[in-house]
């Protein structure tokens, strides 16, 4: 019997809000939106979580921030930006109120801690994609 392998790609339409966020990433700029209550959402919220109002005020935030919590990925998947064991972390960037999920490159699980400072490492080829931030690294070297 011949093998049958069906697959197809998804072709995501991100819309104007996430679209601007991704376009800015290609220019090494991280932007979020400000909610009606003043909270800065990074990644940006398209609609205000409290009221549903469309959010249009943009705020540029820092490329570094604080790890709020994290989880160790001992065996990376083929499509992860890092092909060595790494941490998934919720990172609150400087100037943002909400955390963003991304990868953190450290030598081992022992080098990770909630509250540590990390900074974005940009990919060599900028693209309008979240993987343009290849990963984050501890701000003052490993450990």
């Amino acid at each position: 019997m011949a093998p049958l392998r069906l697959f197809y790609p998804y072709d995501r339409t991100v819309g104007s809000t996430v679209g601007r966020f991704l376009t800015s990433l290609a220019n090494k700029k991280i932007e979020g939106t400000r909610g009606l209550d003043g909270i800065v959402h990074v990644p940006p919220a398209e609609f205000d979580p409290a009221t549903g109002a469309p959010l249009t005020e943009w705020v540029v935030v820092g490329n570094a921030g604080e790890v709020l919590t994290w989880s160790w990925q001992p065996e990376p998947f083929a499509d992860n930006t890092l092909q060595q064991p790494f941490a998934w972390a919720l990172i609150r960037l400087d100037g943002a109120d909400t955390p963003m999920l991304h990868a953190v490159r450290v030598g081992s699980e022992k080098d990770m801690a909630s509250g540590m400072r990390v900074r974005a490492v940009w990919a060599d080829e900028p693209t309008p994609s979240i993987t343009t931030i290849m990963c984050f690294e501890p701000e003052h070297g490993h450990g």
Binding site: T13, G15, T17, D48, A50, T51, G52
Partner: protein, 386 residues
Amino acid sequence: MALNRCAVVGVGQTNHTSCRADVSIAGLVREAVDRALLDANMTLADIDAIVIGKAPDMLEGIMMPELWLTDSLAASGKPLFRVHTAGSVGGSTAIVAAQHVMSGLHKRVLTIAFEKQSDGNAMWALSVPLPFSMPVHAGAGGYFSPIIRSYIRRSGSPSHIGAMVAVKDRSNALKNPYAHLHEDHWTLEKAMESPMLWDPIRFVETCPSSDGAIALVLASEDVADKMPGKKAWVHSTAMRSEPTMFAGRNQVSPRAGEMCAEDVFRKAGITNPLKEIDVVEMYVPFSWFEPMWLENIGFAPKDQGWRFVEDGVTEMTGKLPVNASGGVLSSNPIGASGMLRFGEAALQVMGKAGEHQIEGARTALGHAYGGGSQFFAMWVVGSEKN
């Protein structure tokens, strides 16, 4: 069991098209919601509960999108209910929303159905082999074409009936600004020359792949009575389902569909549907399903549905206009298609269908089916209270 009355007080839909590259799913949904709220003269803050439906999540590859949509619907802290019944989901979702009102639990309920087919590929998403089931590797058309051939054989229908339905629905769509396809060149001769995709389903007899959304605002009687605009009162609702595969199943006219129609008419006090229903919005993704459902619902005697089509009964000028909006054959944002039928039925009895309005429509049937014809959802709406 006494139920509270429920009325459709707002209808909003997007302009359906093959690819809305300018909006996210949340933005697409919000567009329909804003139009429905405007129609009802309400804001999101007025809404007590939200009921949302769409076809299988695999179609866009976003699992449980209702959670993502919470922000765009200002649904935090409010009941948010998701309905899953394949292609019939838009109808089932509207019914669950109506039950939120009829039960007395909520006074203003927003219900939404959507699909953004351009984010994925529905045909192949519906072609994944399932354990212990017959493989269907060519989308819905591949699944339904043998069933249509069976209908033609049993009923003795001539071969041009499907093309007649297609020409009617595509022509009706010219009167509906929201319809995806606006094609003014179809004649029966040209339709018969349209390429055969899944014998006997020709290209013109097939629904398009659409991005689109629809939202309805449903209100309790006390709220609706205080509103000046036109309303569509929900006279009855019914849902039925049966397994996709079992020995002896009548796939041409599933028992679940017959029972659903019997139930929705009984609850609405309708004894002669052909006489008492003024207009029908029917789920016809492939043209031949119009004569098949005419029989299944009970409008036409067994094996006679095709004669209704041939005699023009279902034309906009006929005794029983079917799909004055252009139907699923002219717009198919799958998850939304059932609610579009329910919403278009409401627009007809509200007298707000615009150019495709059937004059004097007072009672309308909205119909949806899904999966391998195993899910059915119907409602009867009227211009007067039930």
